[in-house]
């Protein structure tokens, strides 16, 4: 376990020094903040219009904002997750440090999990400030929205990120080129996103299966406050699967030509 922690520490250190991490977080926070502001404005305007027309406002304003905001978050996560993982293996292989790691008494699993946890930590840290906007809004709402709803939504966002980071981790371990890692991870994530596109609302078996596989569908449920066991299973199985694949991929580096 000491080795795993050593890898984790090293990765976190690299995130601090790498411009990519700062840029990703900055863009994420800027966009999320900007859109949050827009959503609040739009919802308030709508409420005002309804009031002026004499219609009693039964609108759940914070809820509306949250729904739109979580939708945006999921889209942002789709773009940002591949960026956080694209460099994980490319640099190591280019610098030859992969050889150092693989000739040390440390298992591939420790390497992969250490790196993964670091990317997850950064992701969580990136998500955290957005809670500030949400908290601010909640304090100024009357009546206050249910905390549990928001917490569940963020849990969903975390799980979504964890899944996409695992996918990105795997794709990144397959190539030495960061650009290819990004494109591949993004593509794979997108496929998992829209996999149920053609069968929305269908009741056929195939439809059900594809809907279950969609990585964003479960997140939508979370944002509505629904924690379904099947969703939890999905959100645990997917990262486990892709981390496993990453470990095999790293192991296969031993067989590639010098």
């Amino acid at each position: 376990m000491r080795s795993l922690y050593a890898i984790y520490r090293k990765e976190m250190g690299h995130y601090f020094v790498s411009p990519v991490a700062y840029i990703v977080v900055a863009i994420f926070l800027a966009l999320s903040g900007f859109f949050f502001y827009l959503y609040v404005g739009a919802v308030l305007r709508q409420g005002l219009e309804m009031a002026m027309q004499g219609m009693p406002s039964e609108m759940d304003m914070p809820g509306e904002v949250m729904r739109a905001f979580f939708g945006l978050l999921s889209t942002l996560i789709l773009f940002m997750a591949p960026m956080l993982t694209m460099g994980a293996y490319a640099e190591e292989r280019k610098r030859g440090t992969m050889e150092l790691l693989m000739t040390s008494p440390i298992t591939e699993a420790q390497i992969v999990v250490g790196k993964y946890l670091a990317s997850l930590t950064l992701f969580a840290a990136m998500l955290l400030p957005t809670a500030l906007y949400v908290a601010y809004m909640c304090f100024h709402s009357d009546p206050r929205p249910r905390w549990s709803l928001i917490l569940v939504g963020y849990l969903g966002a975390l799980l979504l990120g964890a899944s996409l980071l695992a996918v990105g981790s795997f794709i990144s371990s397959l190539t030495e080129n960061q650009l290819i890692a990004f494109a591949g991870s993004f593509g794979a994530s997108l496929m998992l996103w829209v996999i149920d596109f053609s069968v929305r609302g269908a009741d056929s078996t195939l439809g059900q299966v594809l809907q279950y596989l969609s990585v964003v569908r479960h997140f939508d449920d979370f944002t509505r406050g629904i924690i379904d066991t099947s969703s939890l299973v999905y959100y645990v199985s997917l990262p486990v699967l892709f981390i496993f694949l990453t470990v095999r991929s790293v192991d296969s580096m031993r067989w590639r030509r010098a």
């Binding site: 000491r2 080795s3 922690y5 050593a6 890898i7 520490r9 090293k10 250190g13 690299h14 020094v17 790498s18 610098r95 030859g96 440090t97 050889e99 150092l100 790691l101 693989m102 000739t103 040390s104 008494p105 440390i106 298992t107 031993r254 067989w255 030509r257 010098a258």
Partner: protein
């Protein structure tokens, strides 16, 4: 300490390592000599547990390199051809990281880092970022990393490449100082280095072992093949004929006339004969000017070239 038996590594149709066998005794320094692509790096990578062999076995400190890979790796320090450095770390941080992944005990980390820095003369670069170091210093950090956890076995792939002469001497002394308490394999192109630092040498070519012996034994073996070198002013063909006719002379090689009108030639001497006086008499007798006559003993370089070049002709080398 290290036993390699019938080790083979094939990549598809290319056999990088071909049924290689050798042993390294505890405390010994073994040199690995061979041209590029001979299989040195591949062999080292198999020993360090980086890649598996196609067939054959290798044991380090009693552990099989394939079956007990993790255990083997605990006993090994390895410096690959290009030092595996993290540019954004400081030297200290990097060595500390290496200690962690080598499972070194936490209490000893600080002192181990300091000791490694002292041994490689890096103490004043302790807090420096690796990316700011010159090539020579980077190489030293690579070396420090290979010995920081005090491993039983140290495997070095071209450890003195990129160093200036002073640093090369320091590194060689460092390596010699490590022998006895550590077992060392080092691969190199620099032939004098092998004679100076290694107890024994393995010469490897095209994946196969060409020779295994002490540097002294190898040079002694080929001492029979001495050569005489002459520098004269003489016509090419007659000179060649004269030299070939000297009793006790073997193969003669005459190089083309130089710009200054001189010709050089080498004569292989059959064992046990000293034909220098006859050559001198012959040349002077023909009225040719003799500028230089000396005896060349085959150096390790010649042996190396002899054993590794398919071509029968090879260049002259100095004593």
């Amino acid at each position: 300490m290290i036993e390699v038996e019938d080790l083979t590594k094939a990549y598809g149709s290319v056999t990088a390592v071909d049924h290689v066998s050798f042993t390294v005794n505890k405390g010994e320094i073994l040199g690995f000599l061979g041209p590029n692509g001979a299989g040195k790096t591949t062999t080292m990578r198999i020993l360090t547990g980086y890649m598996p062999a196609t067939s054959g076995t290798a044991r380090v400190a009693g552990f099989d390199v394939f079956e007990d890979s993790l255990e083997v790796r605990r006993h090994i320090g390895y410096l690959p051809e290009a030092p595996p450095l993290y540019p954004d770390m400081s030297v200290e941080t990097y060595l500390d990281f290496v200690l962690r992944i080598k499972n070194a005990p936490a209490e000893k980390r600080r002192s181990s880092v300091t000791e490694a820095l002292e041994k490689t003369n890096l103490v004043d670069k302790r807090k420096e970022l690796i990316k700011r170091l010159s090539r020579g210093y980077k190489q030293r950090v690579g070396l420090a990393q290979a010995l920081v956890h005090d491993p039983d076995v140290i495997i070095l792939d071209e450890p003195t490449v990129g160093l200036d002469p002073k640093q090369i001497i320091e590194v060689r002394n460092l390596i010699k100082g490590l022998a006895g308490s550590h077992t060392i394999i080092l691969s190199t192109h620099i032939l004098p280095e092998v004679s100076m630092t290694c107890d024994r040498v393995v010469i490897i070519n095209k994946g196969r072992i060409a020779a295994v012996d002490t540097p002294q034994n190898l040079t002694a073996q080929l001492k029979g093949k001495q050569k005489i070198h002459v520098d004269v002013q003489a016509p090419e063909k007659p000179l060649g004929e004269l030299l070939t006719q000297v009793p006790g002379a073997g193969r003669v090689e005459v190089s083309p006339v130089r710009a200054d009108g001189h010709l050089t030639a080498t004569v292989e001497v059959l064992p046990g004969k000293d034909i220098r006086s006859q050559i001198a008499a012959g040349i002077v007798g023909k009225g040719w000017a003799l500028y230089e006559l000396r005896r060349i003993s085959l150096s390790l370089e010649d042996i190396f070239l002899e054993l590794t070049t398919d071509d029968a002709t090879h260049a002259q080398s100095s004593n």
